[in-house]
């Protein structure tokens, strides 16, 4: 008679073997020219994009079951990758995790419903979208960075000279060292946290309907700041040179407006919330 221990070992063996059979890897290579376009559509799973060392797009995909396959196509300088869910696939069995290497000047479009979306060390345009996807973009320069999420957290770190637009319904948005001609965040209930110097001469508009907004700036910042919470409150730790004229009434505790630093190179900073709090604070030496 088979002992209990043997039965358990057999059962574990079957499960492990099944997992190994189900999970598989695919690798695809595409030769592209300058400023290629790369799109990855992945219903379930993560996507990480990093720069490659050549004019080649390399796609490494880990498929978590045989209920999903990877469709790929190249049309000229454009590469499209799509996770194709087969009958019966769900969020677990339909999961594919991608690591994609692209030339640093490539423009990328990533979509995932649930996985994390990450892009780093690029200088082509970056467009990331996913209802529940956590988004992390870092070390990107001279590019458009567009992010749309429903409840995923958004982290942008070291985006230089970017045209940045983030739309998030309820996810928290953190911008660290992000500057450029336009930096705009619109959220319904997410918290917005900006840490940086607001660059030179850009337009920064951070808006959350009910979420709090916090901006932490260093002493050398030059910015023309206006902040207003329609039903909430505002706090200002930094002495601003008051403006002689504003189009809205400066209701103490609900709004402030003024200039910090050198007017000639200052950026325009607009902080708005309906019912959240706004806090403009000075960055400490440790930060």
């Amino acid at each position: 008679m088979v002992s209990m221990r043997t039965a358990k070992l057999v059962a574990i063996g079957v499960i492990v073997a099944g997992t190994l059979v189900a999970e598989s890897r695919r690798e695809y290579h595409f030769a592209v020219g300058p400023k290629a376009g790369v799109s990855v559509m992945n219903p379930y799973g993560s996507i990480l994009v990093r720069p490659s060392s050549s004019n080649t797009v390399v796609v490494n995909a880990v498929l978590h079951s045989d209920k999903v396959e990877v469709d790929n196509s190249q049309n000229g300088n454009r590469v499209d990758i799509q996770s194709h869910l087969l009958a019966g696939a769900d969020a677990d069995s339909g999961r594919v995790d991608y690591e994609v290497l692209v030339p640093a000047d490539a423009s990328i479009t990533l979509h995932s419903n649930t996985g994390s979306l990450r892009a780093e060390n690029l200088h082509g345009d970056v467009s990331l979208e996913g209802p529940g996807a956590d988004v992390d973009v870092r070390d990107v320069s001279d590019a458009h960075v567009h992010v749309k999420t429903m409840n995923g957290a958004v982290n942008l770190d070291n985006i230089q000279n970017g045209h940045v637009e983030v739309d998030s319904l309820s996810g928290d948005v953190t911008l660290k060292g992000v500057n450029g001609p336009l930096v705009q965040v619109v959220s319904t209930s997410g918290r917005i946290n900006y840490i940086g110097d607001f660059g030179n001469g850009g337009e920064y508009r951070l808006t959350s309907h009910s979420g709090d907004i916090e901006a932490t700036i260093p002493a050398w910042t030059s910015a023309d700041v206006s902040a207003r919470s329609v039903r909430g409150e505002v706090h200002d730790d930094i002495p601003l040179q008051p403006k002689s004229h504003t189009w809205f009434a400066i209701d103490k505790g609900r709004a402030f407006a003024g200039t910090v630093g050198r007017v000639a190179v200052s950026s325009t900073v607009v902080l708005r919330t309906f019912s959240g709090k706004i806090h403009l604070r000075k960055r400490s030496e440790k930060q």
Binding site: P43, L85, A89, P131, L169, S187, T207, V230, R272
Partner: protein
Amino acid sequence: MNCVELQQSLAEVEDGSRLDQRAHLRTCPECSSLLRELELIAATANQLQAANEPSPRVWNSIEIALRQEGLIRPQRADRSLLPSFGAAWGAVRWLAPAAAMLLLALGIYVRRESLPRPVAEQAAVVAPAVANPSDLNDEDLMQEVAADPPAMKTQYAENLRRVNESIRDAQGAVDESPNDPDARRSLMDAYQQKSMLFEMAMDRSEP
């Protein structure tokens, strides 16, 4: 007639042939350019072949977009426009969505153009956009995500609730202070966020 009135009137008489329209168009290069673009879209739509009929997804997207813009009302008995558009219209089927897209484009254009205008004009433009949020068909959105995992459906429902709240809040602020640009901006942002939610529900990759 000013720019806003002309653009609104184009939704009813789209060729700009009325006397007052013509008078305004003679003096306004911006509106003349808009009219030329609309005519080009209409002409291009006429040339489309029946063989190029779009997928049901496109019809659905147009329907939802029109509802979001408040240009059509939800249909309770038959929730989709698909049968009525697709059944027996033959090649003419393209004309209806083309007209719908014209109206939609016009609506968006009018709303966008309202931003830098004087306050009196803005109030007139904002008014149609601030319909009761219940006019937007939330049921359609939830049906779009019906096949999603339960956790995702819950997230859509929760975010829909929040964005509807934000629309109500902002609407209240606009009613209280119609000349407050921040209140109007809040309302516009709230609608855009709701629009994004619908867009995400429709655009997500499906099995």
